[in-house]
């Protein structure tokens, strides 16, 4: 059994692409091995900023001949079909094929033998194929070449069983082919010259000596442990950030965490600003003090220890951060000289969307909506809601949000607090974009709820009005997220909001229903149960809707519920079948049956039971006691079962009797459908 080692050395690969690319390389090479009939024990892939590496263990040194059968056309088939078969099978004439009776006639068969041979002979083509189909998110050509790779490819290590494979990759143009070899390079700055490797263990060890940690998991461990030790020594706590850790591990081959200090002059700037500035611009980790506040230390991960022990590197990074934060502090000081309210006229100059007017117009709509919504939010002060809504977009014209757009809302909150506006107004400004996803915080304060709902309802209604609806994977205005945000706010805070009042478009409610279904499905609710309630059509109060869904789900889970559903199904099927034959029937069987025409005791029992249910149903529905309503249905089950046992509906020779019985069945359907459309329930 032997090992395949592959390394593709290139110029620096973007951090975000490395993990995916090494996985893809592994998958493509393994697929190639399988397709060639080469078995192996396992494969591991690695990535650093400059290389993708792959090791496949337990490959046989040679593979056996593999024979494969191909069935061709029927004997005597037209010549065209025969020729196609011969070509596909690689045969020159039918003499090389054989006739076989399959039981369904005589067919031509070809037995194609793939010659085995040394594994080493098959590998170059597999590597070549994998490299050609590796899907980089963005790739480029370089020099005079035509080959596409993420950045210029520099060398290839391709060893099988310790021996260099014979092969090369041609970048095209006037460029020299890159031959497979056993030479690689170490760290860009901490290692000089080429390194000869004999296999994976040798490769990993020699690279480590040349200041390259091949495995991203090892680099992450070094970063995390080093950073935590630095923090512990400085009596601060590292602010964990897995995304940042992944990215930073993709920016260095030889990670060296270092601790820097944030200049005291910047510590009064909002911590969110410091964190964003450090993270997105500089890829630094933030730290916190014992009480959870942002500490004045940060961790930078360098790609070298620095020949002076890192002093120059820390000093340089502190200088860069100082320059960045001076900008932030400048904005923080300047912005607060203008009140949020005085910024509102500037919103007239910002186009929200070409067809939807300016941000000022949008704010006007949001304020109007927020006040309307506030009427449905217990404890929401209308004046505060209006104030918060009018100011919620004012921070868009501050210098700080211009520099850090991702802090919109959060910055407005800070400025509102520094103006000493009511805290609920400031919080509502800070909360109104939330929740931005399923794991984001959801506003719970009354003023915040009203403004956050208005922001999203306006976005949905506005984009709907100009025909900008999400399609398939396209949702440029994040309307799905807005709808899910509304659902979460309404449901988590149990806000009784008649949505219909705020939507003019029919299909917008349908869009909502679709979002709701997706969300309920993720929570394990049966989709047909949701459909049954949605089919009522008029239910636009999400809290009530979910109460119906919940009660129905419980009811259907009980034996009584399942049995009643069978009875409902039989009643509905008969009525539907008769309605199909007679288009005018529906009108004739509306309303309650004529008691005088109820002949059999089973009929009378159903009618009585229905009357009972209806008496109980109205107050239960009014009280939104859906479990109670469902329980009332349970009394229907016995009479309905007895009815179907003893009563013939389509009684011959008595159209009056038939019509009355259909009326009775129709009433069963109508009564139950008042709670949910039971016809949507799947068995």
């Amino acid at each position: 059994m032997a090992e395949l080692l592959l390394e593709l050395l290139s110029e620096e690969i973007p951090a975000r692409m490395q993990a995916r690319a090494s996985d893809d390389l592994k998958r493509l090479v393994c697929d190639g091995l399988k397709a060639a009939g080469l078995a192996f024990a396992g494969a591991r892939a690695f990535a650093t900023p400059r290389r993708l590496a792959l090791v496949v263990d337990g490959l046989a040194a040679a593979r056996e001949d593999v024979s494969e059968e191909k069935r061709g056309p029927r004997v005597g088939a037209p010549d065209q079909a025969i020729q196609g078969f011969l070509k596909a099978a690689g045969l020159s004439s039918l003499d090389q094929a054989e006739k076989r009776d399959t039981g369904k006639g005589e067919f031509w068969f070809a037995v194609v033998t793939k010659k085995g041979g040394p594994t080493a002979a098959a590998l170059p083509a597999i590597i070549d194929g994998a490299m050609k189909s590796l899907p980089w998110p963005k790739s480029m050509k370089w020099g005079s070449g035509t080959m596409q790779w993420v950045r210029p490819l520099q060398s290839i290590v391709a060893l099988f069983d310790g021996k260099v494979l014979v092969g090369e990759i041609a970048p095209g143009g006037a460029m020299k082919p890159i031959a497979f070899g056993d030479l690689t390079r170490g760290h860009r700055f901490l290692s000089k010259g080429e390194i000869r490797v004999t296999g994976f263990a040798d490769y990993a060890a020699k690279l480590k000596a040349a200041h390259v940690i091949v495995d991203a998991a090892d680099r992450k461990k070094i970063i995390l442990e080093g950073a935590e030790k630095l923090c512990a020594d400085a009596q601060v706590t590292l602010k964990a950030d897995d995304g940042l850790l992944d990215e930073v591990a993709g920016l260095v081959e030889w990670p060296v965490p270092m601790l820097g200090t944030i200049d005291a002059a910047f510590m009064d700037v909002p911590p969110e600003v410091l964190i964003v500035s450090m993270k997105t611009h500089q890829r630094y980790f933030a730290t916190t003090t014992a009480d959870g506040a942002l500490a004045n230390r940060f961790v930078v991960v360098a790609n070298t220890a620095g020949c002076d022990g890192g002093a120059a590197i820390v000093d340089g990074n502190e200088r860069v951060l100082r320059a960045r934060l001076s900008d932030a502090k400048f904005f923080w000081d300047q912005d607060r000289k203008v009140r949020l309210e005085d910024r509102l006229p500037a919103l007239k100059d910002i186009v929200f969307h070409a067809k939807l007017g300016t941000q000022a117009e949008r704010v006007g709509r949001i304020a109007k909506l927020a006040v309307e919504i506030a009427g449905h939010v217990p404890g929401a002060d209308l004046g505060l809601v209006e104030q918060a809504a009018l100011l919620c977009k004012a921070d868009l014209v501050t210098g700080m949000v211009g520099e850090f757009p991702e802090l919109q809302g959060i910055i407005g909150r800070y400025y509102a607090l520094s103006e000493e506006l009511p805290v609920s107004v400031a919080d509502a400004i800070g909360d109104h974009y939330t929740p931005a996803g399923p794991n984001d915080r959801c506003p719970s304060a009354p003023v915040s709820i009203a403004v956050a709902l208005a922001d999203k309802l306006d976005a949905l209604a506005s984009f709907w009005s100009i025909g900008e609806k999400p399609t398939g994977s396209r949702d440029p205005f994040a309307l799905r997220r807005a709808a899910l945000g509304i659902i979460r706010i309404v449901v988590e805070n149990r806000i009784r909001l008649p949505l219909q009042k705020f939507f003019k478009a029919e299909d917008l409610l349908a869009f909502f229903a679709e979002r709701l279904k997706v969300q309920m499905r993720e929570k394990g609710v049966r989709h047909d149960v949701v459909d049954a309630v949605l089919a009522l059509g008029h239910e636009d109060d999400l809290v009530r809707l979910l109460a119906r869904v919940e009660a129905l789900q419980v009811f259907l889970g009980s034996e009584a519920g399942r049995n009643l559903l069978t009875g409902y199904g039989r009643a509905a099927n008969i009525v539907r079948a008769e309605e199909k034959k007679d288009k005018a029937l529906a009108a004739k069987i509306a309303g309650t049956p004529d008691t005088a025409l109820l002949e059999q005791v089973e009929e009378k029992d159903v009618a009585l039971a229905l009357a009972d249910v209806e008496r109980g149903l109205a107050p239960a529905l009014a009280a939104e006691d859906f479990a109670g309503a469902m329980a009332a249905f349970a009394g229907l089950r016995g009479p309905i079962d007895a009815f179907f046992d003893k009563v013939t509906v389509n009684v011959a020779g008595s159209p009056e009797l038939r019509l009355n019985r259909l009326k009775l069945l129709n009433q069963i359907r109508a009564t139950m459908d008042a709670v949910a459309d039971f016809s949507k329930i799947e068995g």
């Binding site: 963005k138 020099g143 070298t304 620095g306």
Partner: protein, 295 residues
């Protein structure tokens, strides 16, 4: 020959880079004599990046970004600043090593500092150009943009040019440890008449900011834009890509000034960018015809 001394002032930084890239076989050009937003607009980059002929050049380009003016009050934002640009077409296999050599030449010790290449894809909507590359960080500070051109004027390149752009003021502030650009020594501090960057450019920043933001005659600029656009199209028709492209540069700068004056709305902005791109595209196509003919 002994190693050349490290640059001690702003102009020596320029001279060092010029000498370094001259040694790499680049023609050392002088700045293009028109207002432009970046060194990329120079014909030595935009047009030369297209066509089958190899090309190597390096030059300083004064770059004008009217809306970045801060009346000389911001320590690192300027409406007029210098870019140093090297372009090597086709990109040689060791282009990164050559670039790193230039850092050593200007006094950045790669054993002492942390040099990293961080993904940064470049795109110029007005030139219809894009490429892949990095911003180069030194101890966390961006000191260079490095781009492999893939498309210019909407046309895929024949040979890929490697473009290296140094922001000179920022680099100098780092090298000479200055907190504000205006304190940078322009010539040596022990010169007979020592001059700072502020001595040379502060008044210019103040006056040009006032012009860009307050006084530029917008009606005239709209006219200039329309005239340049018309002239450009006419010259393309006469198969004169070089003079046509100059008109494209003019239109682009007029647009930048109008933008700084705040008279172009967000929606109009996009349409102006598209109009300049159309001009750039036409010039590039016309240029390509001349290059293929010559080849």
């Amino acid at each position: 020959m002994s190693a050349p001394a490290k640059p001690q002032c702003f102009q020596e930084l320029i001279l060092t880079l010029q000498n370094y890239w001259a040694d790499q076989g680049c023609v050392i050009l002088q700045p293009f004599d028109m207002e432009m937003g970046a060194g990329t607009f120079h014909t030595a980059t935009t047009l030369r990046a297209l066509g089958p002929k190899p090309w190597r050049a390096a030059y300083v380009q004064p770059s004008r970004r009217p809306s970045d003016g801060r009346y000389g009050e911001n320590p690192n934002r300027l409406q007029h600043y210098y870019q140093f640009q090297a372009i090597l077409k086709p990109s040689p296999p060791d282009i990164l090593d050559r670039y790193l050599g230039s850092l050593e030449a200007i006094g950045i010790d790669t054993a002492l500092h942390d040099i990293r290449l961080v993904e940064d894809d470049w795109e110029s909507p007005t030139l219809g150009a894009w490429g892949l590359g990095w911003e180069v960080w030194c101890d966390g500070m961006e000191i260079t943009q490095f781009t492999y051109f893939q498309q210019v004027g909407g046309i895929e390149v024949d040979l890929v040019a490697g473009e290296i752009t140094y922001g000179l003021e920022r680099l100098a502030m780092y090298l000479f440890d200055k907190k504000t650009v205006y304190e940078l020594p322009f010539n040596r501090v022990d010169s007979e008449v020592p001059l700072t960057y502020g001595d040379v450019f502060l008044q210019n920043e103040q006056e040009q900011s006032a012009y860009n933001f307050e006084h530029a005659d917008t009606e005239m600029l709209f006219r200039h834009f329309a005239d340049a656009e018309k002239e450009c199209a006419g010259l393309v028709g006469k198969k004169l890509p070089l003079p046509a492209y100059e008109q494209c540069i003019k239109a682009s700068h007029a647009f930048n000034l109008l933008d700084a004056r705040g008279v172009i709305s967000v929606t109009e902005r996009q349409s102006y960018i598209l109009r300049v791109r159309e001009l750039a595209k036409a010039c590039c196509e016309a240029w390509l015809v001349t290059q293929k003919k010559a080849a």
